[in-house]
């Protein structure tokens, strides 16, 4: 009997020829990622359990990325970045993307920004490998045909010391998407559609594998958006089969060898769902749950106080290009916050052009707030002085990933999750707006 892509990766990592869903197996870890929120606790567990003088299992297989609470006066948040730095120096960690000058992030060439996008841009997301990260959106890297999932500090501390983890092999739910993507639809619409169909616990303990001709046409950034939100359906990981698009992206960023694997024709799936994307429409997830789906055009009476474009899910270069398509030559009616995921995305805003203008010229011309320093920012609320944080019970249309009560700060704030196109269209009217109104 055949295996799925995820089963094959886990079998290789376990040194076995075959694994089956439900089995508990020890896997060898290719990469462990942690950040400023969970890194200090992970380091604490590692030292407590392996000793104050213990050495990590492999200083080249740990990636430390400060990204969550960077541009804040919060002393404990700043201390947590210092803890990462001290540990990186002590252990000789090869990949530590440090920031020391918070007043001017551009003065820190090593600083990247949001970990999931930084991992991809720095060549750490490689087909066939096993990545664990102390962040639920680690599943983002499944876009590269990698097994990638989020874990807690204790499991991460265990990996730091041993390079191994005991995990359960997930069964795979396959989502086959066919048809040509209309220009008003983005991967964000596809994943919100799917989460709306299966619910926020619809993929708990399972893999979400995305396949079909639509997926093959998607760019790497769009595939990331899709896999990034697998966790919002409870999924253990999301995955897309690697192809020429994947190899081109990865090989441009790393010379490290990797071995891609693919789902067998006779693999067994927990479930199989098919979509014709040409029939889908732009959607939003209404408060307070990512599966509370509605058509954007059905929400046109919802008055919006602000729009937020940012995060690992919706703050990549292409996300801003899609927003610029809508905003060019027009004026926003509500405060519109732009938070590039990484320093590279930030640079792209000032160098990449759409229809003759740079993205930042388009945004500033439209009256958006100047692009902020790259970080997780208000996606998860954070310290009170976080850029874009919801401090009032207002309504926000956001390209982020989660809208449970209090996710962006104030617990009575109402967050509507949407694609960059829908977010931009909503900024122009001050109401939730279907982007087709601006894409003639």
């Amino acid at each position: 009997m055949g295996m799925t892509l995820t089963e094959k990766i886990l079998a290789r990592a376990a040194g076995r020829s075959v694994v089956e869903p439900g089995e508990n197996i020890w896997v060898e870890v290719d990469l462990l990622m942690t950040h400023d929120v969970c890194g200090p606790g992970t380091i604490g567990v590692f030292k407590r359990e392996f000793g104050a003088n213990a050495k990590v299992w492999d200083p080249e297989k740990i990636v430390l990325i400060p990204d969550h609470y960077i541009f804040t006066a919060d002393e404990r948040a700043n201390r947590n970045v210092d803890i990462l730095r001290e540990f990186a120096q002590e252990q000789g960690i090869k990949y530590f993307y440090d920031i020391t000058d918070r007043g001017n992030f551009k003065a820190n060439p090593d600083y990247k920004g949001v970990c999931h996008i930084a991992l991809a841009q720095e060549g750490h997301t490689r087909p066939g490998e096993v990545l664990f990260g102390t962040d639920s959106h680690t599943c983002n890297a499944g876009a590269f045909g990698q097994f990638a999932t989020g874990i807690g500090n204790t499991d991460a501390g265990f990996i730091m010391g041993t390079g191994k983890l005991l995990i359960k092999v997930p069964a795979t739910m396959r989502f086959v998407l066919n048809g040509k993507m209309p220009d008003y639809l983005l991967a964000k619409d596809l994943i919100l559609q799917i989460i709306g169909d299966i619910g926020v616990a619809g993929a708990t303990y399972r893999t979400m594998e995305f396949a079909g001709e639509t997926i093959e046409q998607l760019t790497m950034e769009e595939r990331m958006t899709l896999c990034n939100m697998a966790i919002e359906a409870g999924g253990k990981n999301g995955v897309v089969a690697p192809d020429a698009t994947t190899f081109e992206y990865v090989r441009a960023r790393t010379s490290k060898p990797f071995e891609a694997v693919y789902t067998d024709a006779d693999a067994q799936f927990y479930s199989d769902r098919c979509y014709d994307v040409s029939e889908l429409e732009p959607v939003v997830a209404k408060p307070h749950s990512p599966d509370n789906r509605a058509l954007a055009r059905e929400c046109q009476d919802v008055k919006v106080d602000r729009v937020y474009i940012g995060s690992c899910t919706g703050g990549k270069t292409e996300d801003f290009i899609h927003a610029a398509r809508i905003l060019k030559g027009r004026r926003v009616k509500v405060p519109t916050y732009l938070v590039p995921a990484t320093q590279k995305v930030y640079e792209d805003l000032f160098t990449q052009k759409y229809d003759g203008q740079t993205l930042s010229e388009i945004f500033l011309g439209a009256g958006c707030i100047e692009p902020a320093a790259p970080s997780c920012a208000a996606c998860l609320g954070g310290p009170k002085d976080t850029f874009g944080r919801m401090n009032e019970p207002e309504v926000c249309v956001s390209t982020t990933n989660r809208n449970f009560p209090g996710r962006m700060g104030e617990k009575t704030a109402q967050i509507y999750l949407a694609s960059p196109c829908t977010a931009a269209a909503s900024a122009l009217t001050g109401y939730i707006t279907d982007p087709r109104e601006y894409l003639a």
Binding site: G150, V200, P405, R407
Partner: protein
């Protein structure tokens, strides 16, 4: 493991996510530091909507409710281990939910902070905050003393002994999976 845990319950609905269990602004607290561990406990469930009432009384560090009863998908959202830790530090011994999000469930076992029991049926509509219950580990039962009813739970299975031991590392040492030093 205690054979029995008795106490008052705090009742929650479905999809109580990690931001409601421990809001992101408190994630600067590092759980492996004992003073910050206790402080995390004082913010447990601080992100809940007001309708639930207060889980921890003003000025207190711990809760009067050692058992939480909840609906489906408890602990969904983030991978932050601060979530089970905040509950454990607040004095929660067990959650009895209809179902759990995967990472939260795993983090309960990894930290050994609390027992994630699953109920056979939906209890959160029937139970009310402040009712007195006993969790009977030997019989996989929850007794609601206020309603005078007994409810069946799903066996804890493999995670029971891990939490009994005090978490992943303690269990691994106890069973010889890693060295005792």
């Amino acid at each position: 493991m205690s054979a029995l845990i008795r106490g008052t319950i705090f009742v929650l609905d479905d999809n109580i996510d990690t931001d409601q269990i421990i809001p992101a602004e408190y994630l600067t607290l590092v759980p492996s530091r004992s003073d910050e561990y206790r402080k995390l406990g004082s913010y447990a469930l601080a992100g809940l909507p007001e309708r639930y009432g207060r889980f921890i009384a003003p000025g207190e560090m711990t809760t009067l409710y050692p058992i939480i009863v909840a609906g489906e998908n408890f602990g969904c959202g983030s991978s932050r281990e601060h979530a089970p830790i905040a509950l454990g530090a607040a004095g929660v011994k067990a959650v009895v939910a209809q179902s759990y999000a995967r990472i939260f469930f795993r983090n309960c076992a990894a930290t050994g902070e609390l027992y994630p029991w699953e109920s056979q049926n939906r209890l959160c509509d029937e139970f009310k905050t402040g009712q007195e219950v006993s969790l009977d580990f030997a019989h996989n039962q929850l007794v609601n003393h206020t309603l005078n009813q007994v409810y069946e739970l799903k066996p804890l299975g493999e995670v029971g002994p891990v939490i009994d031991a005090g978490g992943l590392f303690a269990y691994a040492r106890q069973t010889g999976m890693i060295s005792r030093s």
